[in-house]
Amino acid sequence: MKCSEFLNELTNYLDGVLDARTKSELDDHLAWCHNCYVVCDTTRKTIEIYRDSELYELPEDLRTRLRSAIMSKCSAHKKSEPPSS
C-alpha cells in the first residue's frame, strides 16, 4: 500500500468504518511507515482536541435572553397567522 492510498482511507480508518480486510492492510502499513503513523496519530489528536475544546460555548445568561426572544417572536408569529380553520 502506498502512503497516498493510506491517506485516502484515513478518514474511514479514524471513523472505524472500514471492513476488516482493508483495516488490516492499513494497520500493516502503519506498522512500518512512520510518517503515516505520525499523520494518523496527530490527526486523531486534532479531532480529539477540537471535540473537547468547548470553543464558542453559549453563556447561560445569553442563552436565557435568546430563548426568551425566540419564544416571544414565535408567539407574535402565531398571533399574526390567520386561523387554520
Binding site: 484515513l10 499523520v39 473537547d52 414565535c74
Partner: protein
C-alpha cells in the same frame, strides 16, 4: 418509487414470460407487487424465449415493497416536534433548549462573529417554527434545524464579505492541497503545552483559517458529532463530498497545528 439496481444477474438467462416477469429470486426481495418496471436492455430470443440482461438493469419498485410500513417507535424528539406542530409552544421551547447551544456553536464557527451567531440562533429557530408544518419527518428534526442554521449563517457571511464568494463547492477543485508537507510528531500531550486561554486562541485562529466549506463539514462531523449521512443531508452534499472535505479539513488543521504542538528537536517538547 425508488430504483434498486440488480446485482449478480447480468448475463443470467431469464425465461421471459409474455408479461416479462422476472424471477422473484433475482430481485432479492420477498414481496413482488405488480406495477414494477424494468429499466435497461434485454437481448431476447423470441424462439427460445431466453433473454439476457445487458448493461445495468434497475427495477423500479414501490417504496412500500422494499421498506415495509412497520410502526417505528416515535423518538422523544419527534414526539416534541409533533406536539409543537399541534401548537404546543412549550414543546417547541423544549426543542430550543435542546439545540440552542449546538446551533450557536455551528453559527459562530461559520460566521466567526458572535453577534451574527446570536442572530442566526434566533432566525434559525424562528424559521423552523414558521415552517414546522412543512417538516416531513424524513430526517431528525436536529438535522433539519442544522440545515436551516447553516443556510442562515452562510447568508450572514455572504452579506458581511460580499467580495468573496462563499460556496460549499469552492474548495473541492484542489486534489493535493491537504497532503501533509511536513510530518512532525507532536508532544505526547500537546494541549498541556499551553494554558487554557492560549490553547483556545490557537484552536480558534487555526480553525478560522480553514476555507468555510471545509470548516463547516469539520464542525458538523467532528465537533457536533453528526454522522456522515446527517452532515450530507444538512449541507445538501453527497456523501463522497462530505468525506473528501472532512479528510482535507482534518489534514489541514493537523498541519496548521504542527507549529504549536510539534516536539522540540532538542528536548521533550514542553515549553
Amino acid at each position: 418509487m425508488i430504483i434498486r439496481p440488480l446485482t449478480g444477474v447480468l448475463g443470467t438467462p431469464w425465461y421471459l414470460t409474455a408479461s416479462t416477469q422476472l424471477p422473484a429470486t433475482a430481485l432479492g426481495v420477498s414481496v413482488l407487487s405488480t406495477g414494477y418496471s424494468v429499466l435497461g436492455t434485454f437481448k431476447y430470443n423470441s424462439i427460445s424465449r431466453i433473454g439476457h440482461a445487458v448493461g445495468k438493469i434497475c427495477i423500479k419498485l414501490p417504496m412500500s415493497t422494499i421498506q415495509p410500513n412497520v410502526e417505528q417507535p416515535v423518538s422523544e424528539e419527534m414526539a416534541l416536534v409533533r406536539r409543537a406542530k399541534r401548537g404546543d409552544d412549550q414543546a417547541f421551547e423544549e426543542l430550543v433548549r435542546r439545540y440552542d447551544r449546538n446551533v450557536f456553536r455551528i453559527a459562530q464557527h461559520i460566521t466567526q462573529n458572535r453577534e451574527d451567531a446570536e442572530d442566526v440562533v434566533q432566525e434559525a429557530f424562528l424559521k423552523a417554527y414558521g415552517n414546522l408544518a412543512k417538516f416531513q419527518e424524513q430526517s431528525k428534526f436536529y438535522t433539519w434545524l442544522v440545515r436551516i442554521a447553516v443556510n442562515e449563517a452562510l447568508m450572514k457571511l455572504r452579506r458581511r464579505k460580499p467580495e468573496r464568494t462563499v460556496s460549499l463547492d469552492e474548495e473541492v477543485k484542489t486534489e493535493d492541497d491537504s497532503l501533509p508537507r511536513e510530518v512532525a510528531d507532536w508532544s505526547p500531550n500537546p494541549e498541556q503545552m499551553y494554558n487554557q486561554a492560549q490553547l483556545r486562541d490557537i484552536l480558534t485562529r487555526t480553525i478560522q483559517g480553514l476555507p468555510s466549506g471545509f470548516r463547516t463539514v469539520f464542525v458538523l462531523r467532528d465537533v457536533e458529532g453528526l454522522s456522515t449521512e446527517e452532515t450530507a443531508q444538512a449541507l445538501e452534499l453527497s456523501i463522497p463530498a462530505v468525506k473528501s472535505r472532512l479528510l482535507r479539513a482534518r489534514l489541514q488543521l493537523r498541519e496548521r497545528l504542527n507549529r504549536y504542538f510539534q516536539k522540540k528537536a532538542s528536548g521533550d517538547g514542553d515549553q
